[in-house]
Symmetry: C2
Subunit: 386 residues, 2 copies
């Protein structure tokens, strides 16, 4: 009936839908679930028969938007800007986004080398006020550094204030970070964060639902928050006034069964009042990265890892296997050494190391990286047979 | 077998035991429970037969202390200093102290006009670090003021730092406060708080287990904390480093089924680290007096009072009845006006108003006091018949 997922038709259909249907539109999500991408595209293109659940006026608006959509051109433009479109069913699709039900993104535009799926497996959102205090910026940065040092990926929204401090803290620790934008990933927003967001795209990932060139709007910011919440194992709010948008991210995390955490601050600060409200109602109090990891990590996270790699060696991306082979057997190595031995760039090495971390092959060790005990055996075996 | 509680013999026996047995000594508490005051006193005085559960050496020490005890003299000295000894079974004894089991105080030395039992019914402990920050002092003082303004009695330990700020905050709001000391109530400790503690004795209550002249010791501070915890409906820790003594008060409150609360602060402050630890484990986060009252108050505390007075008018102390009669029928009055009309001092009027508040007769209204709606009827009836 419809083109299978993973096909060129499905990809083009979803790029088309990302242009026509707004992020988080559950009516559109239901159409896709019930009729399939191909049929929904056909009806939007031809204008008839109208799909259920929308007014005639709204339907006409959607059909008009559909008339202007050029998915081939979107894909070409994106490819030139180093951006790919990741769809449900793709190997890189983060399965946890399916928890959003009919509000699940049609697909995600992704800028950056690392695989989104692997990174998202061990990620935590650090979000908060744009107009944060020095205290909040300091706490967000050290929290993010601490998470990165423990091998966790820091996800945030790329905004001024807490978001920016969190991204910078992760980058400063040579760690992994993902910015989820409420606009096209080719047009960094806010403009003052252009350099930061480009650096995240170099060393990490910049992700968004909106097609190239699209602008953020207030409702797009709010709907972006659900992606941050769904992508991660938990959300930490660092500073937030009452009724702040980052509280919505935390509540979305809660509804999705993710951990909802808050960092307290002075009760005399209006920018901690929202966090305190959250802590009183539904969030867990955390004061540093170790406490966050204790919650979101697997049981025994603080103890030496007990589980072996979760993905067979021969299913690894060749570039990841190359980095894995560059890790010395009995000691930790720093990123530069690993990158040199793997004949790749520092940024690529970091990206691959975090993927390998998510799979249980490697672990952070002080400033460096080393093979996990259980990985040692399989890597040696793997080297012999691959 | 033993002199009944409330008799002169029981009083003298308990004053004697307060000299001989250390606060919180559960072995001594068990002797009293199993054998009665009279028999325990007799054995300690005569030295034989030895009571169970202590070494021969420790028994000899207790008998030696017993030989030096002069309960009549203690009582006389206390009376001269305006201090009374309140025993289990007395009308003024706060029944909730019985929750301490065999660790229940033998009795309490009390300095000040108000009735301890009534005040303790609507009391909250505000405790914390001695070496507090300006932030902590500010928060403790405004929390205590806010509690006082809502008709709650603020209990603390009279120490430097948070304790002192809490007492001062309550006094500054014209409110009620109780200092529970770890030494004789006639010798204020710390010495630098002599003026403050004397002022508390004028306007509120100074309470302690230790007989006149006794010094505080480290273990006495710790055991004093259990009295603070047991006396109150809940304990709020404002600032505390890890392993601080005020955390022990909070944990004692928790064990006793009282509310355990903590005020968060910057995660960068070592003096909030203990509170955050407590909040993560077992305490409720509060940021102001309204939130404390919401927890410790009766259901509907924030709504207009729905219950009538809990004590018939003719059981009220005559001085309390006089103050009650001085309250105008249809409006709030300030303390000075009430004191004038009741022909008493301002301090006495405050003490009585808090007693009447605990009984449901009056309520705070802005800076003044007024009759509760339900009280209006019974007071009018009462006036007619008393």
């Amino acid at each position: 009936m419809s083109a299978g997922s993973g096909t060129r038709e499905d990809l083009l259909g979803r790029v088309f839908l990302a242009r026509v249907i707004e992020p988080g539109d559950e009516v559109g999500g239901r159409w896709v679930r019930e009729l399939g991408v191909e049929e929904v595209v056909r009806r939007l293109r031809t204008g008839a028969p109208a799909l259920p659940g929308v007014s005639a006026e709204r339907w006409a608006g959607l059909v008009a938007r559909a008339g202007r959509a050029e998915p081939e051109r979107d894909l070409d433009a994106a490819r030139e800007a180093g951006t790919r479109f990741v769809c449900p069913g793709d190997a890189e699709w983060p399965g946890q986004l399916d928890d959003l039900g009919d509000g699940r993104p049609t697909g995600l535009w992704v800028r950056g080398r690392p695989g989104l799926r692997m990174w998202a497996l061990r990620s935590v959102a650090v979000v908060g006020a744009r107009a944060c205090t020095e205290y909040g910026a300091h706490v967000a940065a050290s929290l993010a550094s601490g998470l990165a040092e423990r091998g966790w990926v820091v996800v945030s929204g790329g905004a001024y204030g807490i978001d920016g401090a969190a991204h910078r803290g992760a980058l400063a620790a040579g760690g992994a970070t993902v910015a989820v934008l409420a606009c096209g990933v080719d047009r960094p927003y806010p403009r003052g964060h252009t350099a930061l967001i480009n650096r995240i795209a170099e060393q990490g990932l910049v992700v968004g639902e909106l097609p190239p060139g699209d602008h953020p709007t207030p409702s797009r910011f709010i709907l972006r928050n659900r992606v941050i919440a769904a992508l991660t194992r938990g959300t930490v709010v660092v500073e937030a006034a009452c009724r702040s948008g980052s509280l919505a991210t935390a509540r979305a995390a809660r509804r999705l069964g993710r951990f909802t955490m808050g960092v307290p601050g002075p009760v005399t600060s209006a920018l901690s009042a929202g966090v305190h409200e959250l802590l009183r109602a539904e969030a867990l109090l955390v004061t540093d990265a170790a406490e966050v990891v204790e919650l979101v990590g697997d049981i025994g996270e603080l103890a030496p890892p007990r589980r072996g790699p979760v993905l067979p060696l021969d299913l690894l991306h060749p570039a990841a296997r190359q980095v894995l082979a560059a890790l010395p057997g009995g000691r930790a190595a720093d990123v530069d050494e690993i990158a040199r031995d793997a004949r790749t760039t520092r940024d690529d090495a970091i990206a691959r190391l975090y993927e390998l971390r998510a799979l249980g092959y490697v672990e952070r060790h002080g400033d460096g990286w080393k093979l996990t005990r259980q990985a040692l055996t399989s890597v040696r075996t793997g080297r012999g047979t691959s």
